[in-house]
Symmetry: C2
Subunit: 304 residues, 2 copies
């Protein structure tokens, strides 16, 4: 691809992703409006975590994938925000003292540091329930079959066979030396399942039969892995100010990562290969898939 086309795609990605950040913030500001009773502190904690931060990768993926099938953008945004609510709840609980004991997240204090531990547990639990409430609402889709499938697959991606199961594997992995297949499996559950769902959700909204979803799931699986390798590279040698959190924690904890197992150079090559393969999965599409292609390239060209 000529350099100026890539530049142009990068500019477009920047604009689209800025728009998604604004739209997701608006959605959460509206959803988490002040209650005027003693639950206010809970809503403040949820707003602290859900508004104004993060790359919003998952909603961006849902919105980008929904363009392949000409899905109503407002509905794609609702689904993207449900996924982001799950992601944010998992970050809040992950940051707790009994888990990663983190002080900073997205350049701000973590929820338990700003509001207290009990509040962080409850804010996470509340966002978890809200994700399902968003999807079950008829505003998400007229078709109850679509809503049910969106709900079922999100519950699977978030639960013990997906994200929560991966977090358990990650806990157990501390002090063990995992090999590459084990790290790959852990990552596919811990972060991959929700990233894959972000793309699959658009297929569900488009009522694509399961057998036609293979390339989109392949795309999502590849960029999920590429993102994880890029995260490991940033944790290994990135800039703390750009990342908005302390780095080098995996090495400090003695955790195996793609970078510790492959070395920096091979990890970079592997990520680049995954991005190429992800884009290859989109070969049946024209320019309606350009945003998904740009997201794939961005996976490895970022500093946070």
């Amino acid at each position: 691809m000529p350099v100026e086309t890539i530049d142009c795609a990068a500019e477009e990605l920047k604009a689209e992703s800025a728009q998604v950040r604004v739209d997701v913030d608006k959605f959460f500001a509206n959803l988490l409006a002040p209650t005027g009773d003693s639950r206010q502190r809970l809503f403040d904690a949820m707003r602290h975590a859900a508004i104004g931060g993060g790359k919003r990768l998952r909603p961006l993926l849902t919105i980008a994938a929904s363009r392949l099938f000409a899905i109503d953008p407002a509905r794609a945004l609702r689904v993207g925000c449900a996924i982001e609510a799950i992601h944010v709840y998992s970050l809040i609980h992950d940051d707790l003292p009994c888990m990663d004991d983190a002080e900073l997240r997205r350049g701000k204090l973590t929820v338990h540091k700003a509001f207290g531990e009990a509040e962080a547990v409850l804010a996470g639990d509340s966002l978890h329930a809200l994700a399902f409430e968003i999807l079950a609402d008829p505003d998400t889709s007229d078709d109850p079959f679509v809503r049910c499938e969106l709900l079922l697959e999100l519950a699977r991606a978030a639960g013990p066979s997906g994200m929560a199961g991966g977090q358990m594997m990650d806990l157990i992995a501390e002090g063990q030396t995992l090999d590459l297949p084990a790290i790959t499996r852990l990552q596919q559950l811990k972060t991959g399942a929700l990233i894959e769902y972000s793309v699959e959700a658009a297929c569900i909204m488009a009522k694509l039969p399961a057998e036609s979803r293979t390339p989109y799931r392949g795309y999502a699986r590849n960029i999920g892995l590429a993102f994880q390798i890029a995260d490991d590279l940033i944790d290994h040698s990135g800039d703390e100010a750009a990342a908005g959190k302390p780095l080098g924690r995996d090495a400090d904890a003695g955790k195996a990562t793609f970078v510790s197992l492959l070395g920096e150079d091979r990890a970079r090559q592997q990520a680049a290969l995954l991005v190429e393969q992800a884009i290859e999965h989109l070969s049946g599409h024209g320019e309606e898939a350009d945003l998904l292609r740009s997201i794939a390239r961005f996976a490895i060209e970022r500093d946070h």
Copy 2:
């Protein structure tokens, strides 16, 4: 009602509730079968909390209410187990050191005492997601409208406008002196919303229009309050061995309860009145509502 009729009803409730305990245990044993990978510890923690304990009041209510409308018992059990999964997750998180810091629950060690805090957070999160996965599955109902409504209302009952919101109110209430309306509102969110849902779920499965649900919601609201008052009475002057947990914690924490506000005698009278009103709501039904009537009476005649 003649004494022998009441005795007979009490025997029937005992048998029905024993059967529900067996069925719920079986359901969770099947759902949480060993994984054979490093998520095993997570599943062990979930099994510890979900199997073999508790009154199973919520599934019992769903099953009893589903008899009014001749709903398939296997489906009513699934819905009851989804509600119980939400209840169990909330107990696990409630017991955490940053919340109630409890050591015993249902006569066993709490999950964080038996498995660790991180495991308890993840086991709660996993059961939370599983509840929605159970409901979204076509085995719960052929009708996707029914599944969506079940999911939507459960998410509302569990989230910040229901249970999680009530838990936040409870946190804030420590060190404050709540009055009777405030305590009632707190209880209606913290435990009332899920109890009300347990009965309403049967109405949803029966496709009852919203305006026809009023008596059943009234029944559920009354027994929810009656159960809470009975819990306060047990905490105030009950037997620790029967309760399976330390008692007197509310008084120690200086928390206002129905008993501290009304006194023991008036609290007992109030609970009895609520049970009477609950039963009154069922006057349109014959003996198919007898189990619901027995549950209401049991609300105030128990020691745990």
